[in-house]
Subunit: 326 residues, 2 copies
């Protein structure tokens, strides 16, 4: 890939993993998703090709996906059980292991910008709820009314899920796993967006953003804002952004485990990521996927669900975008 | 240690690491801390010696430390900048990698009981803020008025810290590291309590609870409720509970890193824990310590601060309690 004349750079993105099949995605939707992913890749490419940092690239790309109502992050995020939107995001700089994250916020237009401000301006790593919102406002970030995030399709998803749960409870036997598997609603349950990049300076970065789970209750937070679970980057190894059933990704500390398999066990990026996504996550009963790029520019995009919105772009500027397994 | 007649069990606890020296701890305080640690160890011992689970032991021990105003967890927790108390806790079961955590709660008398309820009853791993409180209340846990957690000494610490920060800001140059190092106020800045245990069935568990940082703002959450950072347990390796400057423990994903060094690099527990606490954490600019026990009953209690409240007990029922380096 590397011509030797030009330093290597790589950007990989995802828009969530789930029950995404040719049967349940219309051709029109497929085109819309692909165009959106390609636009995000091209935006990141324009930053990286002129020597911009991986950190700037992943933030810019995630912002675009947050602004796009197709994805479960920022505008278009899924609703909580109470009909609210609670957003989580994280960013990590592999150069110095700096990290920032926010959880349970309702007014920050671009949660990933909030996470970056936490990383660079707060002296902390994780801020939650109203406190995180106050911090973002003081930092001059775009603050919106919670209604900004509303989309009809997500609202309908919540209503359908509540209706189904009610019916299911009536006919008793409330098996959680089944209820999730049968949503059929592909990304509406666990959608997430994320980006990882290697820049020409050899720096890695990762960013992830989500609205969490449709119908979530009790201030539930998934893996996205948990450094080491959904998001991790170290120049010594790789950058990772996960998507899937967050609880399993937290318990397995998936992102850091991938990095540690690379660092401590000398596994390739492919083998490390497959160890977690094709073996450990499903063994525990979870599902999902991840995107990763290592310090040498190798990429991996494994997932154990029917589909994952994903793509990558390298020096040649040719965006590759995929949704299904084949 | 193991006689062969009786199965091995081990309990290790901590009450926070910090600038704890013979110079700044009165003899009276020293005795009070040691008696408290010993009482906690004996309580856990009574559970483990009759075949109780490591999970029950670490929860019971952390509850005792939460109820004790000497430690920065539960009653006696430190105050936020706004004069409130926001508590975080996590628990993990090494047998099945089940985990539960809560962050930013103000009304749950024993946050560690909240974390355990999340693990066993919510289908989630992390609940935050009001949502976590509502869940705990529904589960019938003890709910208290936030004033329950108030102690005069912590209030005074906050006032002193605010005063010092004001003076420091007036004479400019607001260097965060210096401000933390000079508190002199030992555990009032980053105190935490934690317990790890190996039971007779060979199961490992870890539990950690904290009030976080004195004078914290913006809903800051440290490493304690982050599975993999401040708390982790796996029967395949070890159980870990951390204490210290949480931001560094999150960025380094300290607890999971210790486990991965054991699993993937075949390091001893001693070498793994020292790699993180004596090398990686200080290299990045942080400080603190941890307690750990591995599946063979080996223990480690490294810290890079002047002192750490700590102790352990094994089959022989002899509680060993220490505070200073020597």
């Amino acid at each position: 890939m590397n011509t030797g004349k030009q330093k290597k750079f790589v950007l990989v993105i995802h828009g969530g993993a789930g029950t995404i099949t040719r049967q349940n995605l219309t051709q029109q939707s497929e085109i819309a998703y692909k165009e959106s992913l390609e636009k995000a890749l091209q935006t990141g490419y324009q930053i990286l090709r002129v020597g911009g940092s991986s950190l700037d690239a992943v933030e810019a790309v995630v912002k675009i996906l947050e602004d796009n109502p197709l994805f479960n992050a920022g505008k278009g995020a899924v609703f909580t059980h109470e009909g609210k939107i609670e957003l989580d995001a994280a960013i990590m700089d592999g150069k110095n292991l700096a990290a920032g994250a926010i959880a349970g916020v309702t007014t920050i237009k671009n949660p990933i910008a909030g996470a970056r401000a936490v990383m660079e301006k707060s002296g902390h790593v994780l801020l939650i709820g109203k406190g995180a919102e106050a911090f973002a406002e003081e930092q001059g970030l775009d603050i919106v009314d919670p209604s900004y995030f509303y989309t009809q399709s997500r609202w309908d998803s919540l209503q359908n899920l509540i209706k189904r749960d009610t019916i299911k409870n009536q006919i008793n036997n409330n098996n959680r796993k089944t209820s999730v598997e049968k949503t059929g609603n592909h990304d509406s349950k666990f959608g997430t967006v994320g980006a990882v990049a290697l820049d020409m300076q050899g720096n890695l970065a990762a960013a992830t953003s989500t609205g969490g789970m449709t119908n979530k209750k009790y201030g539930r937070v998934g893996d996205v804002p948990i450094i080491g679970a959904g998001t991790y980057a170290s120049n010594a190894t790789c950058a990772i952004s996960c998507t899937g059933w967050g609880e399993f990704f937290i318990r397995l500390v998936v992102a850091k485990s991938v990095s540690d398999l690379v660092e401590y066990k000398n596994y390739s990026l492919k083998k490390s990521t497959e160890e977690m996504i094709m073996k450990k996550v499903p063994q525990l009963g979870g599902d999902g996927g991840l995107i990763a790029v290592d310090k040498n520019g190798n990429i991996a995009m494994p997932f154990n669900t029917p589909g994952m919105y994903r793509g990558y772009i390298k020096n040649d500027g040719k965006a590759v975008v995929k949704i299904f397994k084949d």
